[in-house]
């Protein structure tokens, strides 16, 4: 077996918990994942889930405080991308409830409650760990189909 097609890469960015950085996180993840030559819709999916996770960190994790830090990492292993978005905010009291479609802890903010549902629909795997008072970590995984042929 030749290992010629093995491809690994990693990146980590950290940014302030302000809403301007939602667009920054989308641009950063799109640029990184572009190395896998994804299809347009795959790239849109990944930008959307990152936008959801970063928005959650800002609104819910840090409750709109601008002095928090959001950490995003991405790892490429051949045709699969692993993304994490982490905050050191207030954490989620009830994860099961938070992941329900249309559930929102802040109805006054006109949130749709679709963040986790979108992540689960657009990614192959989503894992959320959270501890009250310590923060939330979202881990997501997606196989990029357009490169599948190379690694079969």
């Amino acid at each position: 077996m030749t290992q010629k097609n093995e491809f690994h890469n990693y990146m980590r960015v950290q940014f302030a918990s302000i809403s301007q950085n939602e667009a920054f996180a989308r641009v950063a993840i799109a640029a990184f994942v572009s190395q896998l030559d994804p299809q347009m819709n795959e790239l849109t999916d990944i930008k959307t889930v990152v936008s959801e996770a970063v928005t959650n960190a800002i609104i819910h994790g840090y409750e709109n405080r601008p002095d928090g830090l959001v950490t995003m990492t991405a790892r490429i292993e051949n045709d699969t991308v692993y993304i994490t978005v982490e905050d050191n905010g207030v954490g989620i009291k009830n994860l099961e409830e938070a992941r329900q479609p249309l559930y929102t802890s802040k109805p006054e903010l006109e949130r749709s409650g679709m963040g986790f549902t979108i992540m689960e629909n657009f990614m192959d795997e989503v894992e959320v760990t959270s501890e009250e008072g310590f923060g939330t970590l979202v881990k997501m995984k997606k196989r990029i189909t357009s490169k599948k042929a190379l690694y079969n």
Partner: protein
């Protein structure tokens, strides 16, 4: 990369054309502008054209749902047109496609309101 909006009143319908990216950051100012337009009675119905919207996430769903509720409560109609495949999937996932009127383009959105205008 941020959100731009252009409003144009035709009959009793306010056509709102969005371009750029609609996320949590840009949702707030869009909400305020649309809310004001509805409150000031500038329109009875609203047509939201997403033709040049290059990105939208669940924050956009929140704003659209909020304005739908607001305008429906006043007896008006809300029509969304030129919806990309990506955004349509969000409408499907959230069930919003069941309550919103979705039209192909501005012309069909306007004619769908013809009776109501």
């Amino acid at each position: 990369m941020s959100l731009q909006m252009d409003m144009n009143l035709q009959g009793g319908a306010l056509i709102v054309r969005l371009s750029g990216e609609l996320d949590h950051h840009s949702a707030e100012s869009l909400k305020t502008s649309l809310e004001q337009a509805i409150e000031q009675g500038r329109c009875r119905h609203m047509i939201l054209s997403l033709k040049h919207l290059s990105f939208m996430d669940s924050s956009g769903l929140g704003v659209i749902l909020g304005r739908y509720k607001q305008i429906s409560a006043l007896g008006g109609k809300m029509v969304v047109c030129d919806v990309s495949d990506a955004i349509y999937r969000l409408f499907e996932m959230s069930g919003l496609f069941k309550i919103l009127t979705i039209e192909k383009d501005e012309a069909s959105a306007l004619s769908s309101l013809e009776v109501a205008l």
